[in-house]
Symmetry: none
Subunit: 422 residues, 2 copies
């Protein structure tokens, strides 16, 4: 097998917790994307428990069917982390302690003022002949093993460590060993429309791309309060792919209009942040039913301190009055979940914070508190803007408490985004 | 193999879409739970594409390693649905049209006033000797195949159809064929300690349970800012399992002390909520670097309006002073990220909200804003309590912005939890 023509891969996720009803392996999604970009197709994927024999059997079976075998997880320090042993046995490469790895782990603990626990020493065991992949984010090193029948890459299970190691070292090594036709993806995000509407509008556009010079396949996915369009271009270089994807994105943008949130995968809160920054505007938030979620999403974005001034979580009616000056009579007359109260929240936080915009949200997240008039999921979202201009939306949101909170935050951020676009 | 002693299973999910970066197989989670309840352990699980050879190879490999093989998906009417053919070939049971199945599919279409499309006729093909499992929710029938080496169950891919068919017919058949020992789970959550510490303390306790009358196996999992202990008891009845799990939980609680957050899987914010409610206490929050995340987590819990009074997101220094009365000189002298400012935030929100407790958090979430003295990840968490008592913790948190926010919220909620426990 020529090393520059690795074409197929198998992913083996190790971890008994991944064989319970509670956990699902998600590392393989990241890895599939990364492998596809390098032109490598996933043949199959498998999840095995922390059992030496099962890991070894899966590795040998995979080696017979694919050029690359990626094994994830089971590299921790405890007794049930047996991936190192299993891989060493299956590959016939006995384990030996690697002095450099041991030193790196020791200094990692020392940096936090700790002595290395004895059990972490196991993490310094390396199959003889394997290349160690350094772990920028944790103590478990990865492994790169070249065998006549395959390349075996062993990566740590924690998603952050796995990604960090892949980006830092594995991707470049793989790129050198793989063919050049890659699959390049782009994600477009759409808000405020159901999946069927988006597909109806977009499919006449994207269905033409399958037979283009740089073919692009498209899939439409509904996620929480958003619809995503995933575009996959197959091309020899990233430049070729980018050219085709740019043109494709423009075509879709024309039919989607302001429903299109981003074409670079950016989240709604990030797009709102870009608009606020570009326009030199600042925002404040007064939240009842979302309980701080909108402020938290806005401040998830690095640099958000430039445009997020302040937020209030006015959960109690008293707090609405005391903190944000919502007239107690408004609450009495219309109820805490009402259009006037949402307006007063938006206006109150804008005035008190001295910002350009103020978002106010009040609603019934459930499971209690609903009525026939205002069932669980009733939410009012208000935006106060320059010159005291006010906009309000009434929403009837489906789902449980967590979903109502999320959808309400989504609607509030989208109201701000659309207003900033005008 | 005695048919009433089926003990191990493999799940094979079929579908090329499950080998893309966008989709994950979740049917196996439902099936794992159902199999575990029947005393069946999942040996491993695998995802293969819509390729006859791959499905067949996976089936034969699974049959060599488990008593039950569950195959899901690929039973639709289109050309790329090849599970029927693959299973028939692998089991050496030629396909033949089943008149009853064909009639059922035809009448399903007739009920909607439609003629059966020609392609749906493929769904009436059944391996000779297989038992047809009726589909209450769709046109694709399932299959039950008994072979000397295994039982093979073939179920449709759409989750609703799979669940409907499992509950309607497969569960009872499996229960008759399986032993009666079930697997029952419990999750314990621990905060404030690394995985290695928890394992060192807990393993002398849990290692004894493997050989107990009701054997319990334990695995230790580090998640974001928490460590989970997963206990799995094997017992004839839920009562037997619960008795053993209760005793086991008590033993672990004794060695873990207040590091144990919950033994029923409850999240930290839920446990904090229970303690506040039980003690009739209320809390307010003043957040800088966590940006509303603590308030949002607290209000994720149904009924939290009873004890969460108000929250402030004081992102700007001006906001800290104007909203919460933090003395501007404190910020000038010590910096916004400092112990005195954290104290002033905690005290300020407690006084203004008139609550029993006030949590104040200030820190550097990054990626910018760090210094050699106070690098990214430096966070001060303060709790003001009854009588003005104040507690502060300085944290040096690893990771990116999102992780710093999460860990800081974790530390703040845990500080409140431990204080409420005293």
């Amino acid at each position: 097998m020529a090393r520059n023509q690795l074409r197929t891969a198998v992913i083996i996720a190790v971890g008994s917790e991944l064989l319970t009803p509670e956990r699902v392996d998600t590392n393989s999604l990241f890895l599939t994307d990364a492998l596809n970009e390098l032109g490598v197709q996933l043949r199959y994927k498998v999840v095995v428990g922390d059992a030496r024999d099962d890991i070894g059997a899966a590795l040998l079976a995979a080696a017979a069917q694919a050029d690359i075998v990626v094994v994830t997880g089971g590299l921790g320090p405890t007794d049930d982390d047996v991936t190192r042993e299993a891989v060493a046995t299956a590959c016939g490469m006995p384990l030996q302690e690697d002095a450099d790895v041991a030193a790196a782990i020791r200094s990692r603990f020392a940096a936090r003022g700790l002595a290395m626990p004895a059990i972490n020493r196991r993490q310094a065991l390396v199959p003889r002949g394997a290349t160690v992949l350094p772990n920028p984010d944790g103590s478990a090193p990865g492994l790169w093993i070249e065998r006549p029948e395959m390349v075996c890459i062993v990566l740590p299970g924690p998603p952050r460590e796995l990604r960090g190691m892949f980006e830092a070292v594995a991707r470049t090594r793989l790129a050198a060993a793989c063919g050049r036709q890659g699959i390049f993806r782009r994600v477009l995000r759409v808000t405020g429309r159901p999946e069927s509407y988006v597909d109806e509008v977009a499919s006449p556009v994207y269905s033409r791309w399958l037979s283009a010079a740089v073919p692009i396949s498209t899939s439409v996915l509904a996620t929480r309060g958003e619809v995503e369009l995933h575009l996959s271009a197959r091309a020899a270089t990233r430049e070729d792919a980018d050219g085709a994807l740019d043109a494709a994105t423009s075509e879709l943008a024309a039919v989607l209009g302001t429903d299109l949130v981003s074409s670079d995968g950016a989240a709604l809160e990030e797009v709102v942040g870009r608009l606020l920054r570009a326009q030199g505007r600042r925002v404040a938030v007064a939240e009842s039913c979302t309980g701080g979620l909108i402020a938290s999403r806005l401040t998830d974005v690095p640099g958000s301190s430039e445009y997020v001034h302040a937020g209030w979580v006015a959960y109690h009616n008293e707090a609405k009055t005391a903190l944000l000056g919502v007239d107690a009579r408004l609450i009495e007359d219309h109820g805490a979940v009402s259009e006037p109260v949402a307006r007063a929240l938006a206006d109150g936080c804008r005035m008190r914070a001295g910002t350009d915009y103020g978002l106010g949200v009040t609603g019934i997240a459930g499971p209690g508190g609903g009525s026939s008039d205002k069932p669980v999921g009733t939410v009012y979202v208000a935006l106060a803007g320059p010159g005291g201009r006010l906009r309000v939306r009434r929403l009837n949101l489906p789902g449980d408490r967590e979903r109502v909170k999320h959808f309400a935050s989504q609607a509030a951020l989208d109201l701000l985004r659309r207003t900033l676009l005008e």
